[in-house]
């Protein structure tokens, strides 16, 4: 992938292949995301979610951010979705459709999702519509590490402490004694 990126960006400023594949992957992601919320089987919903998150990782690779893409796979697919599936299968592993999943809360959820989409679209388009992403070469791990541990060291440490607090909090909540 990295060689392809280098080859394409070396001889042209246009990222035709990237744009085409961005569209294809984005369509797949949108379709899968709709299936996540419309399917009436919880396990199927989690498996569609894998496709959405995998698509996000693929988009990161198209942008040359390999480290972020691999982290996306490791954390979201390898850990978060696996824990979803594990929890669902331990508690309600019914095979067929579960009608209680498709409740009357759907309309409200759709309204909230629509509002969120509108706000995010306006904010992102307003902020970044004039920016162009220039991918000269894939981002190296060393570059990511350097920026985390110099420029962004304070936010990084703050997030770490926040995660630790959440971890301890969840243990305290879960313990019965």
């Amino acid at each position: 992938m990295s060689a392809l990126l280098a080859a394409v960006s070396a001889d042209s400023d246009l990222f035709v292949a990237q744009n085409v594949f961005f569209g294809i992957i984005a369509l797949l992601m949108i379709g899968s995301a709709l299936k996540v919320v419309t399917t009436s089987n919880v396990v199927h919903a989690a498996l569609w979610l894998v496709l959405v998150l995998g698509g996000a990782a693929a988009q990161f690779i198209l942008l040359g951010s390999e480290f972020v893409a691999v982290t996306q796979v490791l954390v979201y697919i390898g850990a978060v979705v696996v824990l979803f599936l594990f929890g669902v299968m331990l508690t309600r592993a019914s095979m067929g459709d579960d009608e209680t999943v498709a409740g009357e809360k759907r309309v409200m959820a759709a309204v909230v999702a629509g509002l969120l989409l509108a706000v995010m679209s306006v904010a992102l388009i307003d902020t970044f519509s004039d920016d162009r992403v220039v991918i000269d070469e894939p981002q190296l791990v060393g570059t990511v590490a350097d920026s985390i541990f110099s420029q962004y060291i304070v936010p990084f440490e703050a997030v770490s402490v926040l995660l630790l607090a959440a971890l301890i909090g969840s243990i305290v909540v879960a313990r019965k004694d």
């Binding site: 691999v70 390898g78 594990f86 299968m89 095979m95 791990v141 060393g142």
Partner: protein, 342 residues
């Protein structure tokens, strides 16, 4: 002579894809014949397969032919798509795992900056396939096997990754070629005749890695997910014919690939002492050296598999969380301090 690097992108990629398939399948076949057929037979004072081909060496092909002829059975209440797709998810994870393993200075599939990190991420995807198989079968033994497998794989993925961190700190890179070269060109207090294989300095990491690897491969003594006396064959219970064969190939191919990763991280990969590490000869003898090291590491895996009885579930979890993870964390701290000190 044209080297791989001079070919067009699609040509070298096609060659690498074919090479990846060959590497996985040949390695899995070698390990099944050498270890599963012959090593275990030797340990049990019997000959093993002897009829098909010289010394039974074609037995594996006969087995594959047998599996391909069998009926592809779906349980009536199974979730057909999830059930059918599960073996492919597991196998995909294996085939993606092999791409990070280098066979020589130019004989690599991808030369990614991420290397071992990519391998760890890809290997965690196979858990999804196992959960899909366990749930999609609509069988309580399958579901319990899938849940046991997931609990075990989550618990042992942590020590596996933490054991790798020590190597990454010492090599200063996550790139697999970089890790090989760091060992090939390293020196032990100024003495560079054998390089500096990380088995010496990261011995604790190697032990943790091998134990966690055994659990990731669900090989005995960590075979709770497929415990045949309790769960029939766990998440594989309902599979037959070609889909069972896919799980079988996945199991042994993953054993081979993990052995290869251990060989790269701790035994110096394709490097052997005595030849200069940038010599072109390594493009030819490198893959053979790798195969030798893979056979050695996987010998340890199968030796343990055929020697030790099964852990109980609570013992298994305690070993991971209370022993392996703390040891791996201490190893990381010690490696970091020594890296700064020297």
């Amino acid at each position: 002579m044209m080297t791989l690097a001079e070919l067009a992108y699609w040509q070298s990629t096609s060659l690498r894809v074919v090479g990846g398939f060959a590497a996985v399948l040949l390695m899995a076949g070698t390990l099944v014949y050498l270890h599963l057929f012959k090593l275990v037979s030797f340990m049990q004072s019997r000959l093993g397969p002897m009829e098909t081909g010289p010394y039974g060496s074609l037995q594996l092909l006969a087995e594959v032919g047998k599996f391909l002829q069998k009926e592809d059975i779906f349980p009536r209440k199974a979730d057909r798509f999830v059930f059918a797709a599960a073996p492919f998810v597991v196998l995909m994870s294996t085939f993606l795992l092999v791409v990070v393993v280098p066979g020589g200075p130019d004989a690599w599939f991808i030369d990614s900056d991420l290397g071992i990190y990519l391998a760890m991420a890809v290997s965690s995807v196979s858990v999804i396939g196992i959960l899909m198989a366990g749930w999609g079968s609509a069988n309580k033994y399958s579901l319990m096997g899938g849940l046991r497998a997931t609990g075990q794989l989550i618990a042992y993925e942590l020590p596996l990754i933490l054991a790798v961190v020590g190597v990454v700190i010492q090599a200063g890179t996550m790139n697999m070629q970089g890790i090989v070269l760091a060992q090939a060109d390293g020196e032990i207090f100024g003495w560079g005749a054998i390089g500096n294989p990380f088995i010496l300095t990261q011995f604790v990491g190697l032990v943790v890695f091998l134990i966690a690897m055994q659990a990731e491969l669900t090989q005995s003594p960590f075979d709770m997910p497929v415990a045949e006396s309790e769960l029939v064959t766990g998440y594989m219970t309902e599979y037959s014919g070609m889909r069972f064969l896919l799980f079988f190939i996945g199991e042994f191919a993953t054993a081979g690939v993990f052995s290869a990763i251990a060989a790269v991280l701790f035994l110096g990969g394709w490097y052997v002492p005595g030849i200069d590490s940038d010599s072109n000869a390594f493009n030819v003898i490198g893959p053979l050296v790798m195969l030798g090291k893979v056979v050695f590491v996987s010998f340890l895996v199968f030796w343990a598999r055929f020697t030790f009885p099964r852990f109980r579930e609570d013992q298994l979890q305690r070993l991971a969380w209370k022993f392996l993870i703390p040891i791996a964390l201490v190893n990381i701290v010690a490696t970091g301090i020594l890296k700064v000190a020297f």
